[in-house]
């Protein structure tokens, strides 16, 4: 690439921010999803020893933790599809994409922590009092929408 195509608005390091945005979207949301899966998996393993018939109900926190990683994947794929040469990719685009990636990444991290802790305590409690199940689902949904808020902000930023 010639020196003249790079301007102040399109510096050589412009795509760096976009790449970091895509990476952080995936890394942090996978971090949250992994914690959520592992923590609620511990609860399921402890609970299923006595009540194996409740396995299908108690898998729900694991599925919800997995969905948080899909949020990050969606944003990472969207950003990666827009990345290109510094001449066609302004620093502004890079900043926007970094912001989008961090928004969904850290929201996913927080949501994954919440899903994990609620899932662990929820499935253990459901084994002793089945009527807790509705409450556990509601709390899980409220934990899940924290990640969804991050996704909405990320897609809104990306559409700029």
């Amino acid at each position: 690439m010639s020196e003249s195509t790079l301007t102040e608005t399109n510096p050589i390091y412009g795509p760096f921010f976009g790449v970091m945005g895509a990476a952080s979207a995936m890394i942090f949301s996978a971090f949250g999803a992994a914690y959520g899966t592992a923590k609620s998996g511990v609860g399921i393993a402890a609970m299923s020893v006595m009540r194996p018939e409740l396995i299908m109900k108690s898998i729900i926190p694991v599925v919800m933790a997995g969905i948080i990683a899909i949020y990050g994947l969606v944003v990472a794929v969207l950003i990666a599809s827009k990345l290109s040469d510094p001449a066609d990719y302004s620093a502004y685009n890079g900043f926007i994409h970094l912001g989008a990636g961090l928004a969904v990444g850290f929201s996913g991290l927080a949501a994954g922590f919440a899903v994990g802790i609620v899932g662990d305590a929820g499935v253990r409690g459901t084994a002793q009092q089945p009527r807790l199940f509705v409450g556990m689902i509601l709390i899980l949904i409220f934990a899940e929408v924290l990640g969804l808020y991050g996704l909405i902000v990320a897609i809104y930023l990306y559409s700029k």
Binding site: M56, I59, I60, G66, I70, V77, Y158, S159
Partner: protein
């Protein structure tokens, strides 16, 4: 003899219900993983190729549709755990 047969039937039923639970969980897990991906690709082809959307807005709408389909699948799974499918009644003597 009768008690042995009863325990045998109970064991068989337990194994059968375990297989049914595994099939259900496997089906819904695959649905939650694969259907949104199919929705993303399908809506991208439909919006970009047939309806002629611009690539940028086509990507955004495909992502939104995929996330909505994902939550529909999750809702179906939660519905199924609340209201399990009626199991076949086996005759017991």
């Amino acid at each position: 003899m009768a008690s042995q047969a009863a325990t045998g039937i109970k064991k068989l039923q337990a194994e059968e219900s375990e297989a049914v639970v595994f099939q259900t969980v496997l089906f819904y897990s695959l649905a939650i993983l694969l259907v949104p991906v199919a929705a993303f690709i399908g809506s991208k082809v439909t919006l970009g190729g047939i309806l002629g959307f611009e690539t940028h807005s086509c990507n955004i709408w495909s992502a939104v549709i995929a996330v909505i389909v994902l939550h529909l699948m999750l809702g179906l799974y939660i519905y199924r755990t609340f209201y399990p499918a009626p199991t076949k009644q086996t005759k017991q003597d």
